[in-house]
């Protein structure tokens, strides 16, 4: 992938499929396996959910995709204020799923509420 991708859209569930498609297309163009692409689709959903959980007053969700050392780095951020602590977020089932399906995932503290995660393009059995 030659450059980074950024998409922003209204923070409403009916727009989520766009983010899923963008991530899936980007991953597909980077030759991610179908399995990994499937994981990414789930992961995008959960990440968006977590950002809204963290910051329910967000009206815009921004997705940034970049390629770092063969891994896809996804950052989903909101434009509201954080109303929960990262610890509260990390206590949820969604977070369990996020961390199980990605290589690394964290809540970004600087400025906007954001979930940042990476997933590498390796074959998973």
């Amino acid at each position: 992938m030659p450059g980074d991708i950024e998409v922003s859209l209204p923070a409403q569930p009916e727009f989520l499929h766009i983010l899923r498609s963008v991530v899936a297309s980007a991953a597909a163009s980077m030759d991610f396996t179908i399995d990994a692409i499937d994981d990414l689709r789930l992961v995008v959903d959960e990440a968006c959910g977590q950002v809204l959980e963290l910051s329910p007053d967000s009206t815009v969700l921004k997705l940034a995709i970049s390629l770092r050392d063969g891994a896809l780095e996804l950052t989903v951020s909101g434009d509201g204020s954080s109303s929960k602590t990262p610890e509260e977020i990390k206590d949820s089932m969604a977070w369990t799923i996020l961390s199980a399906l990605s290589d690394s995932v964290d809540i970004e503290d600087g400025g906007l509420p954001a979930v940042r995660l990476t997933k590498s393009n390796r074959q998973i059995s």
Partner: protein, 283 residues
């Protein structure tokens, strides 16, 4: 694909809190209810105790169900998916190695998602994707031409989705698939010589049809009384006239005519709904 779900805005059930316990958010001073992880740890120590195993499965069932629902909307019934996820959860409980530095919830998630994906692949993706893709693109293709007529303009994805009862995402996928999976129909003329592959591959074998009628007529002939069969034989195989046949059998020509048409009717009736035997059977 995953259909947009309202779940995104609500928190999924929390696996790290005890079932039924309203979680106090300041765990500092209060009596801390044990977390799911702690409960799980304790239960794992009691394995292979059957009751502990049951409790573990029940404890993480919400996780299995949640993951199963994430795979809904792909053409498999949610109940089936939940079953696959539950079985995967049981496997995860049985296989989990406490010695490894992995939380059970992580291990279970990976196992369950893996089994769900495998379910689709087996059921499956090798077959299902082309079939599903084919179905979607067929629906989309038909909807596009029908909507074009109905609306008087090229339909939007939304219109197609409403018309076909699919989600917009599915329609987009179907359209992509139409591009990727379009194949040349066998009977479409190719550019080079205007003949279709089907034309080049096939010829009409007329003798087949004759053979078919012959086979069926023959079986009917066997069921006829001897005299009827003899008359048919003399008329159509020896080429004798009705008068000659009448002389041969010592009956009147009128009688031969009646017998012959009666026999032919019988043959036609017994041949059933097939087209009537070719005209030369008639006088």
């Amino acid at each position: 694909m995953i259909v947009p779900t309202p779940e995104v805005e609500s928190t999924p059930p929390d696996p790290d809190s005890a079932p039924g316990a309203a979680v106090p958010e300041e765990p500092e001073e209060a009596v801390v209810p044990p977390t799911t992880a702690e409960i799980a740890d304790e239960l794992f120590q009691r394995l292979p105790d059957a009751a502990a195993r049951d409790e573990l499965v029940l404890l993480f069932r919400p996780l299995a169900r949640y993951l199963a629902r994430r795979f809904a909307g792909r053409g498999e019934p949610v109940e089936d998916l939940e079953q696959v996820a539950s079985i995967a959860l049981i496997k995860a409980v049985d296989r989990f190695d406490r010695g490894r530095q992995v939380k059970f919830s992580t291990y279970a998630t990976v196992t369950i998602v893996g089994e769900l994906k495998r379910h689709f692949r087996d059921k499956g993706w090798a077959l299902n994707v082309p079939r599903r893709v084919k179905e979607i693109s067929l629906h989309v293709e038909r909807a596009v031409s029908e909507l074009n007529q109905m609306l008087g303009h090229s339909p939007t994805v939304k219109e197609i989705a409403e018309y076909t009862g699919s989600t917009e995402e599915e329609v987009v996928e179907g359209i992509e698939a139409m591009h990727a999976y379009s194949t040349t129909p066998l009977d479409a003329p190719t550019d080079e010589d205007k003949s279709s592959p089907l034309n080049r591959l096939s010829i009409q074998d007329d003798s087949l049809e004759v053979l078919e009628s012959w086979v069926s007529v023959k079986s009917v002939l066997k069921t006829l009384p001897d005299r009827d069969r003899r008359i048919l034989h003399l008329r159509f195989f020896k080429g004798m006239t009705q008068t000659q046949i009448a002389a041969e059998l010592g009956i009147s020509q009128m009688h031969v005519s009646r017998l012959l048409s009666g026999t032919l009717r019988k043959v036609r009736d017994r041949l059933g709904p097939m087209e009537s035997p070719s005209a030369d059977l008639d006088e």
